[in-house]
Amino acid sequence: MRDPLSAAASQATAGVRPRQKAKRKRKLESLALGALLPVLLLAVWQLLGDAGLISRLLFPTPLTIAESLVRLTENGDLFEHLRISVVRAALGFVLGGGAGLAFGLLVGFSRSSERVLDPSVQMIRMVPHLAIAPLFILWFGFGEPSKVLLIAKGAFFPLYINTYLGIRGTDKKLFEVARVLGFSKPKQVVRLVLPSAAANILLGVRLSLGLSWLGLVVAELMGASSGIGYLMSEARQFSKTPVVFVCIILFAVIGKAADSLVLLLEKRLLVWRDSYSGK
């Protein structure tokens, strides 16, 4: 009775390898399944374009887009645009997401700050980005600060609202435990609320990250001379459709990659969960 593990552990190692193999196989399967639709779409697109069934002017075929991508990468410009955009999006995300997290914590924790702050925050949430861009420029100029701030404004809300409601979803029973054990306020946050709200906070991170990334389109409309959002609007202004598509695809792929990164983090952080995983 006192020796639960050691005796059992050795006996079981034999079973580990096939299990891991099966796991890897399952992973590959799911990856292939996930690639199915995008690949199919690209193929159909290419075929339709080759057959002249869709306007190649409006929908350059994947191959044309790829050529255009290669051309853009050759002189290294594209990487510079990407680098600049990634930095902007990251700064905006850190600023806006960070503030969202902080406000979400504050409002989630205290009824009184909720009553004072939340109605205003919800109203600001409903202010359209595009309509107030001139004000951003008036106040912050069109340099990096206003771009980053505009991105931050977008990134703020998903994290704010998910943190706030994640906290409000914390099981009261566990709160009682924390109080009985005399947790200090910071300990309550770190040991109870954050882990319990973690699933929602991470979802907020994903949504905020997405908005930061997409926010580049509007932000880089404001007096930018670099960045992928700028590249896209400029290509639109000059009717360079293949470049527009290169940008759209870059937005999608890089955005998805960042999203997957957070998902990976989520998987690691939420190992303790005992929840439904679908059939």
């Binding site: 100029g141 069109f142 007096g223 400029e234």
Partner: protein, 310 residues
């Protein structure tokens, strides 16, 4: 193109019947949902509708676009039959292969100005090494770049900003100057922003012109459209000349701009009667070569082939 069109009409055996629906695009978010100018007036008064009915065109749809490239895209995609837009975006689209023909050019259409920030540059030469904002790909862009080239002013940093963003940047002093439309300039000037240049006054070769284009597919269905269109336009022009005040009131309501500014920026006297003028075609050529030189446009094309001359 033109040969195609005639062939189509010949093949049809006499008068080909155009579709009953005509879709017209313009730039702007206009309250009355018609463009400005004589073309807009004709539709506003219902004159043009009556004429078009004769050809079996009973359903006329108007679509406002925020800018030229969007409109061009809609024409390429077959969503539009006719569109009025600035020459610069129209040329840019054509150079990528857009299947369009020009049926009319409004050569004296669009004036533009360079405004400087308060306490900033006082002459064009002062712009050297400075930041100037402009909506890239628009006729203001062409004007500004042409102006700088003409005056041999180097090292100017062009910043792409939408119109109201540009105003804000100027107020803040973040840009040293802006290239903007006349009507927007007239709102800024009273606030004390000095004028460095005005296209219509000092560089008439650099003003923006407006073109009305038709899609080649529509042209095949209605080969006479260019002729019909210009007839309508002239008729409307004659009508509006009889009631200029009413025309200005219409423009003011349609765009939301104050009446006095409308009168100043869109005088009836500038509305052309001719379908094309040599000076106008000259300006199109100039703009095209400029865009090619600057590598803003990819492929060359023949302007004269592009126009459907009467």
């Amino acid at each position: 193109g033109k040969a195609d069109a005639t062939k189509a009409s010949a093949g049809g055996g006499g008068q080909a019947k155009p579709p009953s629906t005509l879709r017209i695009g313009y730039i702007g978010a206009n309250k009355l949902n018609v463009p400005g100018g004589s073309e807009g007036w004709g539709f506003y008064k219902g004159l043009s509708q009556d004429e078009l009915k004769k050809y079996g065109i009973t359903d006329i749809q108007f679509i406002g676009f925020p800018n030229g490239p969007d409109l061009s895209e809609a024409i390429i995609g077959g969503r539009l039959d006719i569109g009025s837009l600035g020459d610069t975006p129209a040329i840019l689209a054509k150079s990528t292969g857009a299947p369009t023909k020009v049926i009319h050019q409004n050569a004296s259409g669009s004036n533009a100005l360079i405004l400087a920030k308060k306490g900033g540059p006082t002459t064009l030469a002062d712009l050297k090494g400075k930041k100037v904002s402009v909506k890239k790909g628009s006729y203001m862009h062409r004007y500004l770049a042409g102006l700088l080239k003409k005056n041999n002013i180097k090292d100017v940093q062009l910043i792409h900003l939408l119109d109201d963003d540009a105003d804000a940047a100027l107020v803040r002093g973040e840009v040293d100057a802006i290239a903007t439309t006349e009507i927007r300039a007239l709102k800024m000037i009273p606030q004390g922003f000095p004028v460095l240049d005005e296209a219509a006054k000092n560089n008439p070769d650099l003003v923006g012109t407006g073109v009305t284009v038709v899609s080649e597919s529509y042209l095949r269905k209605f080969p006479d459209i260019a002729k019909v269109w210009n007839e309508l336009r002239v008729k409307a022009l004659d009508d509006l000349k009889k009631q200029e005040e009413a025309y200005y009131a219409f423009l003011a309501e349609n765009t939301g701009n104050p009446l006095d500014l409308v009168k100043k920026t869109s005088p009836v006297s500038q509305l052309p009667r001719e379908t094309f003028t040599d000076a106008g075609i000259q300006m199109l050529e100039g703009t095209k070569s400029f865009l090619l030189e600057e590598k803003l446009a990819d492929k060359n094309f023949s302007v004269s082939d592009w126009l459907i001359k009467p």
